[in-house]
Structure formats: C-alpha cells, structure tokens
Homo-oligomer: 486 residues x 2
Amino acid sequence: MTTSRRPIDAESVTAWDLEADVVIAGYGIAGVCAAIEAARAGAEVLVLERAGGWGGAAAASGGWIYLGGGTGLQRSLGFEDTAENMEKFMSAALGPGVDEAKIHDYAHGSTEHYDWLVDCGVVFKEEFWGEPGWEVPHDEGLGYSGGENAAPFNTLAQPAPRGHVPQMADKQTGVRGAGYMLMKPLVETAETLGVRGEFDIRAHTLISDAQGRVCGVQARRFGQDLTVRARRGVVLATGSFAYNAEMIATYAPRLIGRPAAAVEEHDGAGILMAQAAGAGLAHMDATEVAFFGDPQMMARGILVNGRGQRFIAEDTYGGRIGQAALIQQDNAVFLVMDMDSHEEALGTETSTPYFRQPPTWAAETVEELESDMGLPAGALTSTVETYNRHAADGDDPLLHKKQQWVRPLTGPVAAWDMRGFTAGFTLGGLRTDVDSRVLHVDGAPIPGLFAAGRCTSGVCAGGYASGTSLGDGSFFGRRAGISAAT
Amino acid sequence: MTTSRRPIDAESVTAWDLEADVVIAGYGIAGVCAAIEAARAGAEVLVLERAGGWGGAAAASGGWIYLGGGTGLQRSLGFEDTAENMEKFMSAALGPGVDEAKIHDYAHGSTEHYDWLVDCGVVFKEEFWGEPGWEVPHDEGLGYSGGENAAPFNTLAQPAPRGHVPQMADKQTGVRGAGYMLMKPLVETAETLGVRGEFDIRAHTLISDAQGRVCGVQARRFGQDLTVRARRGVVLATGSFAYNAEMIATYAPRLIGRPAAAVEEHDGAGILMAQAAGAGLAHMDATEVAFFGDPQMMARGILVNGRGQRFIAEDTYGGRIGQAALIQQDNAVFLVMDMDSHEEALGTETSTPYFRQPPTWAAETVEELESDMGLPAGALTSTVETYNRHAADGDDPLLHKKQQWVRPLTGPVAAWDMRGFTAGFTLGGLRTDVDSRVLHVDGAPIPGLFAAGRCTSGVCAGGYASGTSLGDGSFFGRRAGISAAT
C-alpha cells in the first residue's frame, strides 16, 4: 500500500478497477448533492464512501441548514427576509475574512436551494421555534441559529430565522434525527438518478495525467489499493480534519482534545491529497465551537469569565458563546443566577434537561459567592452591581441582552463552573472558487479537481451559525457536481 | 515569464544560468546563517536576494534575538538561567500548539548559538536594561522580551532576561540599528567564506527532477526568467507573508491592513513555491502583534477593554498586550491613569516619547471620565474601585501586576483611546523538522528542499516574545545550511 499522498502519474496505472464520469469521495451532504447534480447533468456517477453506508457527519448531525432570503418556509411562517439582508448578517457574523463572493452567491441562491431540497423530498415542518435552546426540542422546522436576533447583529441587519430543520421521522417509522432526514431523501434522489455508491472504500491519493489534470483516485478497500478512473472530474467531499490530531495541533490547537459534531472519518484526507497536488488552503484555524450550557438558564443569568467579568450577551447563539469562551476567555466561563431565575428556567417547557448541571457553588449573597468561587473581593460583586443597576430599568447597556431577559439578580445566588464546556469542529480547508473548483496556490483551478463541504473553506472564516456547514456543503456540493460533469 | 508556481521538470531545463552546491533564496537572517554553515560544510553557496542588497527584514528590525539557558552575556550580567527553564517558559508563552521538538532543540542549543554569533562578530554590550519600554533606549545588550518577569509566567518559570540586542554602531561610524549590526558581521563572515550573493533576483518556482528531488529554482531578474541549479539543495529563507494581502485575508484576517515589522518583500513567495511541491503548513493564523503604547505609562495605569474591564497585567511584554488586544478584545483598548502617575511616567529617563499621545479624555473624577468615554455608568468606576481596593495594599489579585506598579488611582484622571493601536507580522509558514527539512503533507521530507525563518512555522505557535523570530531564523537557518550541504 502507498503511504505517500503525492499524486500518482496516470501513465503508471496499468488497469482501472473502477470507472465513472464523475468520481466523488465521501457520501455525506456535499457528496450526495454533487452526485445528484452531476447525474442530472448527464454524467455517470460513482461515490466512494469509507464507512459502511452513506451519511457522513451530516446524518449524525442536528440537520440544521442555513437558508434565507425569503424561503417558502420563512414566508409561510410570516418572516420577511431578503438576500441582501442575509448577506449582510453572514458577512458580519461569519468573519473576519469571509469569502465575499461565496457569501454573495450563497445568499442570493438560497431560496432556489431551499426549493431544490424540497423537490428532492426534504420535509420542513411549518412551525417556528423561538425560545432559547439547544437545537429544536420537537420537530419544528425553523429557528434562529446564529444570533441574528441578539446583540450585536440585531441592529446590523433585520433579524430573520434561517435555521431550517428537516422534520424528524415519527415514532411509527422509528425516531430519526433531522440530519438523517436531510440525507435520506437526497440519497434516494441520487439512487433514482442512477448514482452508484461503493462503501468501505477510502480515497487516498489523486491520480493525474502529464498535463496535471486530475483523472482519478487511488482508493483503499480492505487493505488493497484500487485505481478509480474519473473521465470528467473528481469531487472531494471527505469532511473536516477534526479527528486528525496532528492537523489539529498544527492548524487549530485550541481544539486539541475537543472534537465534536464530527465523525471519526473526518481525518483530513481530502485536504491532504489535494494539497499534495498544490492546492491552497484557507482559514485553517477557524472552528465551530459548541458550548454545552442550557440556553434557558444562560439567557436568564449572567456569564462571567475567569475574572468575574461579563463578556457576551447571554441570550445569543450558543456557538458564539462557545467561540468567545474558547478563543477570547481562555475557556473559563461561569454562569451566575439567582434562585428565582433558575426556577423559572427549569420550569420552561423547552428547557434542556440534558445540559442542566447542579450549581457548583450556592450562597446567600454575591459577596459570599464571590469568595466561594475564589475570585478577588469586588470582582464579581462589582459586575453584579453594574448589571443590577441598569437591569432595574430593563437595560443592559454593556452587552445589550434583550430586555425580556434582563432582571436584577436578587436573593440567594448560585454559580456553575463551566470551564472547558466547549468542543467543536474545524471550518478551514481547501481553497475553492464559487464553482467549487479547487484552486492551486498559484490561483488557477487544478484541472479535473472539485471539492465542497468541510474539506473546503466555505462561507465561514472565523464565525459560525448553525446550519452554515450543511448549508454550504449542500450548496457548493451541487456546484461541484455541475462543474465536474461539464 | 511563468506565472505558475508549479515545480518545473528539470528535464525541460536546457541550460542553467547560475549554479552552486547550495542555493539560498533570501539574504536575511535565515539566509545568511544557512550560507555560513553550508560554506563551512564545504559547499559552494549562492544566495539569491530580490532586493538590491542583503539584510531583509532583519537589518531593518530592532535586532532582538532570543537566547538563554545561561549565555555568556546572561552570566556576565549576573543572571542565572537553564535550558530547562527557558524551554518551560517558551512552551507556556509561545503556544498553544508549539512544536515541542523545535523548542527543545532551540533552548538546549541556545548557549552554543550565542557563542556562534559572537564568534561571527556580533557584539552584545554587557549592560542590562530592566525598565518597561519599547526595545532598549540606548545600546544595552540584554533585556526582558516576552513577559518572563510578569504574570502569569513569573510563577511558571524562573524569570531570566533573554532578549539579546546587538550593540548599535556609534555616531562616529554612522548610527546603525541593532538589526543592521546583527546582519553586518554575519554577511561579512559569509563573504569571507566565499559565499556569493546575487541581488535584484527573486526565486519564483522550484525545479525538481523525475524523482521529486528539488534541484534548483527558477528566478527572475529584471523581467527575465533564469534557471539556477542547486547541486545539493535549495534553502528557502524568503520571509513572511505579511505583505501578501490575499494570503493575509485567507489565513490571518485579523491582520488585514496592519502589517508591521516586516519589509514589502515579504510576499509569501517561498511558502507558495514549496506548497506547490506538496509542502505542508503550520499555524498560518499565528501573528506577532505589536502594541504602540508607552510601556512606562501602561505599567503605571490600567488598561481596559471596550467594556471598561481590565484584561491583562499592564507591566507585561507589549507583544502580549498586542495579541490580547487584537485577538481577545476586538482591538479596543483604553489606558486610564491618574495625573500623578502620568507625570511620573513622563519623567522617567527611559520613557518612550515616540509613543506618547495626549490624553483623549481628562476629567476630575472617574465617574466623569466614564461618562465622557461613553461607557455605561458603573462600567469603569467599578473597575477602578476594585483595582483601588486591593492597590491600597499593593496587591493586584485580579491580574497580578507586580507590586512596584500597583498604586490606587487618585485625583484627576485621564484616558487614552488606544483602539487600533496594533500591527504585526505573520508567524505561520512551511512545516519543517528540527533539521530544517521541508515536510511534505504526507509527513516525509521533500528531498533537496530546506527552509528557515519566517517562511516557516518556527518556535512560535500562537504567542510571541521579541527575538524569537530572529532567534529561530538564525538557529534553524544554520541547520538548513548544514542539511542542504550534506
């Protein structure tokens, strides 16, 4: 078996074990969307999947997909949105350093992309879920997913919910998560179009001709190397590098030991094999960061860092709290609440019991709590005093938490030690253009090579909103399929 | 002229315009050290420099070079240090994600490296400078350079000054900065050894043979492509990508529009040409970040972020303040001082007039100042109250500024708006091993290709200390020269 990733010279290939017009590595969200579009463009399509079945990280995920600009679901639920508005939010929230061309195309193509998904059989239930929370508690189809309706974005762009969630299957057919229910109709669509899937086979190395055009891949199945010919193009859709410890240490060390929302197959293979052909990279340090706290509690309390200082509007998207915690607060976060607010949070129908933890410290006064937490005298009490001073008027001039969640902390108080409550997946990867062509470091596309999904750098540079990963994986996956087939 | 960076097949080269055993691209600190060692190992050495003369960013720099473990200079000035102690500090301060093997070799080879520099003619004046400040005010040879003697590092490792500064030339010979005085004796040493320099010529593309071994470079001079044969090896020492706007946007977007301490020649060329041969990268988001404030003032005042909160021990290294400001505080920093401390700072012999700015706001009380600054009522006053409460006892339990700088703010106060006072250069680049071999993405060295200096990822992953860039550039530059020659 080869261990090198260096592209193999096609002239050295004596026989092809498998062959198709378009060969796609990875049968997750990007791969299936590429397959559908390539097949519709008239190509014979072969998908190579290293796991025993289709799905990838998408099928195991919460299924959120970021769509807007006035999708059918948004309109039917009474939400106004425009592509410009969506573009404005994405540019502000997903940077710094976003790929503006990708965000432009993504935002302006979003309603069409929604229709395409629905045509493929993805079902979005016409129900909105507006409470702070961790994903949706039932099978609602729409929710806020990136802090659109919280500070600072609620004054930068008109808030609109853009987290579209495929309806989970009911109990009669077996409970199936939204990610699975996104992938299933797409795979069925692909199969109807004649797309062939080969499983337990992992692409390892590109094969290219004398002119540098990628014309196949070498792949491994049960310890054997196979050669796979791609008459028109190769699409890499192999997922992130969240489970490649060496790449994490090298590019995104804050995530060392904290992988999440990815599958172990995400070993960066697609990135490495394209890099070996001279492909450029982008935003390799960018990471989604989840924060495992109960949003119903966080919105009602205050979050403080290791110095007892507030740092974020507590009613924003959990992914923003996670990024702020890991990158800006050295992973030290404490939740402080009074008992009344705590009881209220626990009493909400949509609170998230999974994330409830007993308090680490409880005290009669903030002074006592501060001392119990080992904070210097005045560190937390001054934070609470300033918060309470304005909360009495329903204001939060420091961080602009929405009025509905602002209330002075009174009576007995408690704090939860949330240090290290973060985990995430990687957002950086291959540099591609809006047609999903993989770009060489000299700026020109590498002939015959296309990529989408988390082995590429997509619409997110530094920030994140739930659904942007399945979103750009599917959107630019389709483009990869079209480009590869034509 | 070619625009592609794709390696050129040596078989297509009909004639070589220039030739040597070892060809080095870039005549800055890494290049000159590689040249000396390659020549001493018996190689014929040719250095290609795109500017009109030697020097690179090093000659224009402050010349600090990070050395320790008990160098001659440290010992003669009465400072104890060990390699283990140095390694401990570097691992803590330069991460997360540091290359432990590189730091180990660097720390344990540091006293030998000091002797080597001195043998080459670099002069370090036996004088220590211990005041907070921006580089050294005169021609002192040793100072703290990375926050070794400030929190949190002063309790993690025994503090020792490791910033070694070559003595500047005096007025009789023309004032010459320490960076120039580092480079000059090294270039003279190289020339004595027969190293040849060619100027106004920029390496653009690697040339490699059928087995993938790098055997030369294509370079440009006055619009013409030249072929340069390297019989033994090519060393890339072309500097950072601080002045490549596209690479900054793609890898380190926080530095957009903020390049500093680099020269315009730092366009990432060496990184790109090696990437095109399949080289891996590391820590592309890592950046040195300078903060243009007067250390004598900052140590005596308090630094607060856009929410009026303290976030760093104000007596630490300015580069740490810069990184914290840009990455963790969204580039929003304000300096708050009382008038007594301000006068004291201005009166010190070693204050830095260049960085003095008139206050943006001045007021009789902190309440007024807070209001003038547009901060919410209580935001700054509570910060000052908590600071003063402990400062009365000479303590700073929140951030552990050293006792000598801790004093309650009293009487009239002023604040300086220091938003956007940051600029920096990039620390990420090619992945190399401790022998300065450029590593392919598959992990194996690329035969014939070596690199050092800021086109590589060195001892810094996320953090920085002044002198580590000239430090690892010279240290691993030497290794590149030895590896390439043998």
